[in-house]
Amino acid sequence: MANEKKPGVFTGPLWTNNPVVVQVLGICSALAVTTQMKPALVMGISLTCVLAFANVIISVLRNTIPNRIRIIVQLVVVAALVIIVNQILKAYVYDVSKALSVYVGLIITNCILMGRLEAFALGNKPFPALLDGLGNGLGYAMILFITATIRELFGSGTLFGYDVIARFVNEAGYDGYQNCGFFTMPAAALIILGCIIWYQRAKNPDLQDK
């Protein structure tokens, strides 16, 4: 279906058809791992990798997969990829894997994955499937990253753990900024996401409910 317009396959999910703010998928992890920027970034990259690989694998196998067990096959492929990602994180970025804790495992149940596999990879050739996977993964990563930036800056006063507010605001004479603990709570992520959705719909009249 989307074979003819490859650019749209990749760029669409980045903004106009973003999996998080338009399709409203993957909200759970978007609330949970966006307190700090580092885990959010790693989560975004992890999901992009898993989604791109899973899309390609399922797309390659699409003509062999028995229809009756196709969901199970998709799950097995995704689960295997997620476990590998989790093992790699534990071995090479231990602190991040601790911060992500169960959420890496929960990539398996991330609606974006099964949604893209079922809706796109099963019906398209590997290359468009790869683009679709990368596009959706990066679209998800981008929203996570924006949310995490706002939350970390105001909630902890840091960016990537680097002290920003204490260094530049308080030392510049505007003393007394207190970190806003509310931003470290999941509710703040929901409000930020809401604001992004608001902004996006205001810019894209096509998305507004008729």
Partner: protein, 315 residues
Amino acid sequence: MHKTMNRNSNVYTVIYATVLTVLVAILLSAAALGLKDKQKANTDNEKKQQILQSVATKIGKDVTFENAAELWQELKMDEAMFCVNTNGEKVDGKAFDIASKTLFSGGKIIKDASLPVYVANIDGVTYRIVSMYGAGLWGPIWGYLSVDPEGKVAGVSFDHESETAGLGAKIKDDPNFAKAFIGKSIFTDGKFTSVSVTKAGKPANHGGDKVDAITGATKTSDFVGDMIYESLLGYVPFLQSGTVNSDCCKKQEGGCCEKQDAGCCEKQEAGCCEKQESDCCKKQDAGCCEKKGCKEEGKSECAEKAECDACKKAE
């Protein structure tokens, strides 16, 4: 294969599922085996960090994931650790490989447990670090507590699996909570009283010393107090014996215990340093009176020197 076989036949489905499962299993096993060493190194390093964190103020710098292995080497922690049983006797076992979780059953230390003890010699002082484990509000909590030669807490470190971020998670994240434990005594008059964690203004659960609970995380704080009590309970005989050896015996040479009667010395061996002092004070030993912790029955402070002298004459 899919061209010759019906993709919806049972045989095809079963073969497909089997082949896929086997392939995935091989792949995952390979990944797990290949990365095992690296992962083990990470978890070991984290454990070292937590153990050393309990003496961080004595080392004089923060222990991070990065410098933990180095400090561990510097302090020669590997050579100094050992295991004790619940009677305080040394037993065989590799202290570092013991998972604290396996020492507990139903929140209590099991009878024949080999409890790990880590020893850190910092600036000539020996700190014994014991391991703690218990239930938190949402998942397990654990930590390490270092005891100085006088039986006082030299530092603690806590960690948790799933306490609420910003509230219960403060047991790990808020350095002031851990700092509050420093200097607290786990023995009162030679009796194990642990260090309780209770709301500000409330008394300690077992008598003795306490620290204030974290505001908004009363439950987690309660569980921390319980964990300390239950975990240290197994170590009591060991900690008491050590407390006497390194502390009281010195005082004995210093004069106080020269005049000790047999009963007093027995108590001393059993680890009742504080008790020993109070018993001595009742006998109005002059050397004892100079010591701060001595309490005479009915009096809050040391007996007056004059009284002691009078007592001496009477003796």
